[in-house]
């Protein structure tokens, strides 16, 4: 990495203040992003710890490590914490928060106070839910299906939902902030057709935030009302239809999958362009594909309900629409692959994560077609096949992208380099361990093992043991970056504005950036990904 003389005492967002107050009351989007990073890392390891425990339990067919009730609580903790408090906010609230103003040439988000309020809401919601699921114990699964959640379980459902609801408000406000920022605060010359693809995908994600989240909010509120007030909207004994809850739940929760994967796709577009040193092939199509995914993603929720008592006719419509959503996703994969053609490819850690992302996303996406196929889904629905499928998308793809992004922008965020060798090791460990964990689950699912089973027939044991073995590798892979990234804060080499020598406004300002981002607001004259500094490696 090129090292240039660098004034280490230069004012930046990190050394602008050292007091707790300067962090907890900050309005700087970069500091808020760092606050988010710390919080979601905490939640990630809480959710991961639950997963390790129940994977250990699944080593044997009997329930010998934890009781059946505790097993049910563990997978609920894992699902709720990972989805609402890690995956949904991970990339938007950390990388999006940090980078969107930098990428469009703005000084901050449109509403800095609202941004800070979002973080506080997230933390309040997070700790209410954390307390409820960890100390109280909730056993509904993250799906809260009625009438089990509303009338049968006697666990801490209400507190959990209150926490999720508050976190939901936080994500709505984040989405609102991003939308207004992207519309109104672009630097002169930063037209829509010049926006980095990362920003496009966050715009699409924000639309889902504001349009889908409230529906989840209101349906969860009704579950609370049913438990507390006896308002019985989904109660079958009064003529209510519990399946209606599933409609409303999936109206949020299917698009929520795209909340998790769209920002990841944005990160990957940046990484592929940066490490191929060329403009993304088919920029317009990749950008519009984000919007198409966000839109079509709203039309497919019924594919979670093919055997739930929905009309067969409606199920067929949902199935057909689900196949359509594969098209923009595949367009992205093909365009990324085509970007490599005639590129100048270097396999640094972020690129390894990006290529790993493509591999896992292709498998996750293609098995998505399996579960969208009506008759096939009748068999694999609610089995480990589905578990494997969505982990390939949500963990395989989203977490790979998140880590890839963290590594790529680490010099920008911290002003220092990370240890490259360890980075590559962790990327390889995660990729290998992940496949060992989840690939056997495809087979397990097709053989008929239902999900959320604490005990299982003995013939499923071999595959379960493989899966648990993989989980231990993947855990190690996730622990490594936590350690060496923190370590690099002291030992990493200080870097200049553009250590990767790539294109993009965020690389024109110093690392770490000053509080006001740019000394003067930049004027954009070039298309995205066309402004690579001269490559001096071939000389």
């Amino acid at each position: 990495m090129a090292s240039i003389t660098f004034d280490r005492f230069r004012e930046n967002y990190l050394n602008a203040g050292y007091t707790a107050r300067s962090w907890l009351l900050t309005l700087d989007h970069k500091r808020i992003a760092v606050l988010y990073m710390i919080s979601i890392t905490f939640f990630f390891f809480v959710g991961g710890f639950a997963a390790v425990l129940f994977r250990l339990e699944l080593l044997t067919p009997q329930a010998d490590l934890v009781s059946l009730d505790n097993y049910n609580r563990l997978f609920t903790v894992h699902g709720i914490i990972m989805i609402f408090f890690f995956l949904v906010p991970a990339i938007p609230s950390v990388l999006g928060n940090f980078l969107i103003p930098l990428m469009i040439g703005a000084r901050d988000l449109a509403y800095p106070r609202l941004n800070l309020a979002s973080w506080y809401l997230f933390m309040i919601g997070g700790f209410i839910t954390f307390g409820a699921v960890v100390f109280g114990g909730v056993d509904t699964g993250w799906t809260f299906y009625t009438p089990y959640s509303s009338g049968y379980t006697n666990t801490a459902v209400v507190a959990t939902i209150v926490g999720v609801f508050i976190a939901g408000i936080s994500t709505i406000l984040t989405g609102l902030n991003f939308i207004v920022t992207i519309h109104k605060l672009r630097a002169p010359g930063m037209t829509w057709s010049r926006l980095p693809l990362f920003v496009w995908s966050h715009y699409a994600t924000s639309l889902i935030f504001i349009l889908a989240t409230p529906v989840l909010g209101v349906s969860l509120l009704l579950v609370v009302a049913e438990r507390l007030l006896g308002i019985g909207i989904f109660d079958p004994s009064r003529g209510g239809d519990p399946v209606l809850f599933q409609h409303l739940f999936w109206f949020y929760s299917h698009p929520a999958v795209y909340i998790m994967v769209l920002p990841a796709m944005g990160v990957i577009s940046e990484l592929i362009a940066a490490f191929s040193r060329r403009r993304v092939f088919g920029y317009t199509f990749v950008a519009l594909a984000s919007l198409a995914i966000a839109f079509i993603g709203f039309l497919v929720w019924g594919h979670h309900m093919f055997v739930a008592g929905q009309s067969a006719f409606n199920a067929a419509i949902f199935s057909g629409l689900s196949f359509l959503v594969a098209i923009p996703s595949a367009v992205k994969v093909f365009n990324w692959t085509a970007t490599l053609y005639k590129g100048s490819i270097s396999l640094d850690t972020p690129m390894l994560y990006a290529l790993g992302f493509i591999g896992l996303f292709v498998i996750g996406g293609l098995t998505g077609l399996f579960v969208a196929s009506l008759a096939l889904d009748v068999h694999v629905h609610d089995t480990y096949f589905v578990v494997a499928h969505f982990h390939y998308i949500m963990v395989g793809a989203s977490v790979m992208a998140y880590l890839g992004g963290i590594h790529y922008w680490w010099p920008k965020i911290s002003g220092r380099t990370y240890p490259e060798w360890w980075g590559r090791i962790s990327a390889a460990l995660i990729f290998a361990g992940f496949n060992l964990t989840f690939f056997p689950q495809f087979i397990l699912g097709y053989q008929g093992m239902p999900r959320r089973y604490a005990t299982y027939p003995e013939e499923f044991q071999v595959l379960n043991v493989m899966s648990t073995a993989g989980a231990s590798i993947v855990s190690l892979g996730y622990l490594l970056p936590l350690i060496y990234l923190i370590w690099s804060l002291r030992t990493g080499e200080r870097v200049g504005p553009n250590p990767w020598r790539v294109s993009g406004l965020e690389w024109t300002t110093s690392s770490p950036p000053p509080t006001e981002n740019f000394s003067t607001i930049p004027v954009v004259t070039a298309e995205a990904y066309t402004d690579f500094p001269e490559d001096d490696e071939d000389e």
Partner: protein, 220 residues
């Protein structure tokens, strides 16, 4: 416009002109309202499903509601929207006095709405029409879905009421700001305008709740 942040640095140079600030905040509010549409929209969807499944029971249950109170309340809310529009109009002309007057009127009308709503709730609850109440369970036992109607009645009007209460709090805050701290002017009235948008939105929700809950089958 500039704001000082507690991180020590000066950040804000978002707005070149007051007009741009108004437009930015206006957009933010509309994005928020789009989100609110979906929030109430979930309830309206549930309503439509059950009305389709149980048309008879919904018609019977709807006749239990007090149409006179409902109509008066609708008129009050429409009037409050009118005064709220005038409040925004006033500050657009820079008149803080007229603004205060119209905001106070709006608050008064909002409180009247809540008062009437409260008596209506008391009436409905005393009739035993709150879900899970003994009367509703026994009186119309063979019309259990009637409980769903009243569940929806309380959920929809309750969430609406909650939005009104929140709105009233913010209006009170705005009145204090305008009079004690001399905030808002013809060039800087985003907060008032957005409050207006919110209030009109709450009005629109009621415009749909009213016929759906009170006017199902009054003819027979």
């Amino acid at each position: 416009m500039s704001e000082t942040t507690t991180t020590g640095g000066a950040v804000e140079v978002h707005y070149q002109t007051p007009e741009e600030k108004l437009e930015l905040n206006r957009l933010g509010m509309w994005v928020f309202l789009a989100s609110e549409v979906m929030f109430f929209g979930g309830l309206f969807t549930i309503y439509l499903v059950y009305r389709w499944l149980y048309p008879q029971v919904f018609a019977t249950a709807s006749r239990e509601l007090d149409l006179v109170l409902g109509t008066i309340n609708t008129a009050i809310l429409l009037t409050s929207s009118f005064t709220m529009a005038l409040a925004v109009h006033a500050i657009q002309a820079g008149s803080r006095r007229a603004l205060t007057l119209f905001l106070l009127l709006t608050m008064l009308l909002g409180l009247a709405f809540i008062g009437i709503k409260g008596t209506e709730y008391l009436h409905v609850i005393n009739e035993g029409l709150f879900p899970n109440r003994e009367q509703l369970l026994t009186l119309s036992a063979d019309e259990r879905p009637g409980q769903i109607f009243f569940s929806l009645y309380f959920a929809m009007t309750g969430l609406h009421l909650l939005h009104m209460l929140l709105g009233l709090l913010v209006i009170a805050f705005l009145i204090v700001q305008a009079n004690l701290f001399k905030r808002y002017s013809a060039a800087d009235y985003s907060a008032i305008e957005n409050m207006g948008l919110y209030w009109h939105f709450v009005d629109i929700v009621w415009i749909f709740i009213f016929p759906l809950l009170y006017l199902i089958d009054r003819a027979s």
